[in-house]
Point group: none
Amino acid sequence: MNREEKKIATRKKILDSALELFAEHGYETTTVHMITERAGVAKGTFFNYFDCKEDVFCDLQTFRATLEFEKLKDIRGPILPHVREFLMEFVRIGPNSRQLVRAVLLSDLSNEKSLSNQRKMLEELKDMLIPLIVEAQNRGEFTSAIPADMIADQAIQTYMGVSFTWGMGMGDDKLITQMVASFELFFRSLLP
Amino acid sequence: MNREEKKIATRKKILDSALELFAEHGYETTTVHMITERAGVAKGTFFNYFDCKEDVFCDLQTFRATLEFEKLKDIRGPILPHVREFLMEFVRIGPNSRQLVRAVLLSDLSNEKSLSNQRKMLEELKDMLIPLIVEAQNRGEFTSAIPADMIADQAIQTYMGVSFTWGMGMGDDKLITQMVASFELFFRSLLP
Amino acid sequence: MNREEKKIATRKKILDSALELFAEHGYETTTVHMITERAGVAKGTFFNYFDCKEDVFCDLQTFRATLEFEKLKDIRGPILPHVREFLMEFVRIGPNSRQLVRAVLLSDLSNEKSLSNQRKMLEELKDMLIPLIVEAQNRGEFTSAIPADMIADQAIQTYMGVSFTWGMGMGDDKLITQMVASFELFFRSLLP
Amino acid sequence: MNREEKKIATRKKILDSALELFAEHGYETTTVHMITERAGVAKGTFFNYFDCKEDVFCDLQTFRATLEFEKLKDIRGPILPHVREFLMEFVRIGPNSRQLVRAVLLSDLSNEKSLSNQRKMLEELKDMLIPLIVEAQNRGEFTSAIPADMIADQAIQTYMGVSFTWGMGMGDDKLITQMVASFELFFRSLLP
DNA sequence: AATGAATGAGCATTCATTCAT
DNA sequence: AATGAATGAATGCTCATTCAT
C-alpha cells in the first residue's frame, strides 16, 4: 500500500468510525476523540482530513448525492418494473443497518446544511419522477385521477416513512423487503 | 395565586421554554441557561424542578403518551369517518410548526430512551388499529388481500413519512392538509 | 464582604493576575489556566467575568484612558510647573514596575485593538497639548522657532521613549525620576 | 547553483519568510506552517535547518548585532555631522515599515532572551557614545551642565521613543525624517 | 423557594515536532 | 535533502451542576 492509498484508507477509517458513532450516539454526543479512537488514529489526524467536526457529517451525506437518478430518465415502456428495480438499487446502495439509517435521518434533521442538502436532493428526485408518472398515466398504468406531482410527493413520503419506522426498529428485518412491500401497496393505490 | 400554584406555573414556564428551544436548536445545542433565560428564572431554579437537563426532555415526550388512543376502541360501524376524525385530532394536538415537528422527530432519534418510548407508543397504536382493520375488512370496507397488521404498519409509515417530509419543508403549508391528502391516497390502496 | 463586593474582588484578582502574567510572559504565552491559578479561582470563573481572553487584555488598558487629561485644559500662567506636576501624577497613576510597564507596552503592540486604542489616546493628548504649547510660546516660555505640534509630538515621544527604555531595564531605579530628568532636558531644548 | 549554495538559499528563504510573518503577525501567532508555505518548502524542511521555532527568532535578531558601532570609535573633530550620518545609516539598515518596526519592538519585549540581547546592545551603544559625548563637551559642542552618561541615555531614549511612536502609526511618513527631526531638537537641548 | 457565582470535567481545535518514505 | 502524514500535549472556551446566601 503506497502513500496515496494509505491516505485514502485513513480517511475512510475516520469516516466509517464517525458514521458508526453518529448512528450510535447522534452527532452532538459523538466526540472527535471517540471517532479517532475507534479509527485507531491520533486526535490530530482527524483535523488533517477534515477542517472541523461538522465537515465529516456533511461528507456522510455526499455519497447519497452521487446516486444515479439519471437512470430514471431513459425509462421507456411500462414503468413499474423499472421503478421496482431502481428502488432496490437505491436501497442497496444506502445504509442497511437500522443504526445507520437512523444516523442518516438524524443527520438530515440536526444540521441546517444537511437539511437543505437533503431537501434539494428530494426535490431533484421529484422533478425526475413527475414526467415518468405522467407517461405512466398516459399509458394507463396509473390512475389519472390524482395529479402526477402529488403521486411523486407520495412516493417520497413512502420512502421516508419506511426509512424512519424501519430505522426505529419496526417492520421486516430487511429494509429492502419492507420497502418493496410498502411500494407494492403504494402502487395499488395508483391503479386506474 | 398561592404557593402551590406558583410552583406549578414556574414548572410550566420552564417546560414550555425548553420545548420551544429544543424545537429551535435541538436538545444538545440548547443550554440550561437559554431555557432559564427564556423562562425568566435564575439558572439555579431549573435544578429545583428537574434533577438534570435530560429530565425535561423526557417530560416533554410524556404529553404524547397521554393521547387518547382509547377512543379508537369504541368505534362501531363504518371505520373511515372515524379514522379521518381521529387523524385530524391527532395532528391537531401535536406540534404544528415544521420546526417543532423536526424537533420531536429529532428527539425520537437522538436518545435511546426517547427511541424506545416512541417505539412503544407506535406498537400500542398498531395493536389498537389491527382489530379495527380486521373489522373493516369483514365489513368489506378494506380489501382482505392484505394482512391487517401490514395495513397497520403501512398506516403508521404513512403518518411518519408525512411528518418527516413535511418537517423537512416539503408538502402543503398545513400539516393537516398534507396528512389528510396522504391518507386518502392510502385508503385508496385498500379498496377491495 | 457582601456578594457585590466579592464579585468586584474576584474580578480584580483575575485582572491583577493577568496583568502580572502578561508582564512576565507576554500575552500569547500566558494561558487562562495560569491566570486563574494565580488568582486562586477555577478556570470557568474567568469566563464568568470576561467573554474571552482578549477582553482582559483590553481591560488592562482602559484604566489609562480614564486619566484626567481634562486638568490640562485649565492651566493658566506659566506652563512648566503645571506640566511637571501633571507628568508626575501621570506616572504615579500608571504602572510602576518595569515588568508592568513592559506588559502595557507589549499590549499596545501585540493587539490591533489595543494599538488603535493607544494611538487614539495619544492623539487626544496631543490635541490637548498643542494649545498649551502655543500659549507658552506666546508667553515666551518656549521657543517659537519650532512648530507647536512638533513639540507636542516630541513630548509624547519622550514619554514613550522613557517608558520603553526604562521598561527594558535601563535608567534610574524609579521611573518618575527618569521621567522628570528626561523632561527637564526636553524643556531645555525648548528654551527661546 | 551547487548543493551548498542551494542549502544556503533555502535557509535564507525560510528566514526571510519568518521575518516577514513575525512582522505581520507577531512571533506566537506565526506558525511554522505559515513560514514554510511562504518559503515554498515542506514543513519538515524547516526542522532540517532549525532545531525549533524559537531558533529562527533568535537568528533574526543577530542581524542587528552586526551593526557597525565600530565606526563611532574613529570619530575625530566636530561630532554632530558624524552622529547625523551614523543615525541615518542606522535607520537605513533597520526595518522601515511601521509593521516591521512594531515586530522588532514586540520581539524585544516578548521574549526574555530577546530582551537581554537588546539591552546588551543598547548598553554597548551607550558605552560607545559616552567618550564621544565627553569629547564634544570638551570641544564646546555640547553643554557640560549635563553629565555625559545622562546625555547618552537621552539619545537612546530619543531613538526608542521615535521608533515606538512611529511604529504605532504616528509622525512623518518616513521613519528617517521623523528620526532626524527629533534628533535635531535633541541636539538643541545640548547647546551650551 | 429563588438566586447566580463558582466549579471543573470535557470539548473542538491548533501546532510544533517526529519520522518513515 | 526534502517531504508531509501522523502525533498528542496544550489551549481557549462551554456548560451542567452545586451551594452559600
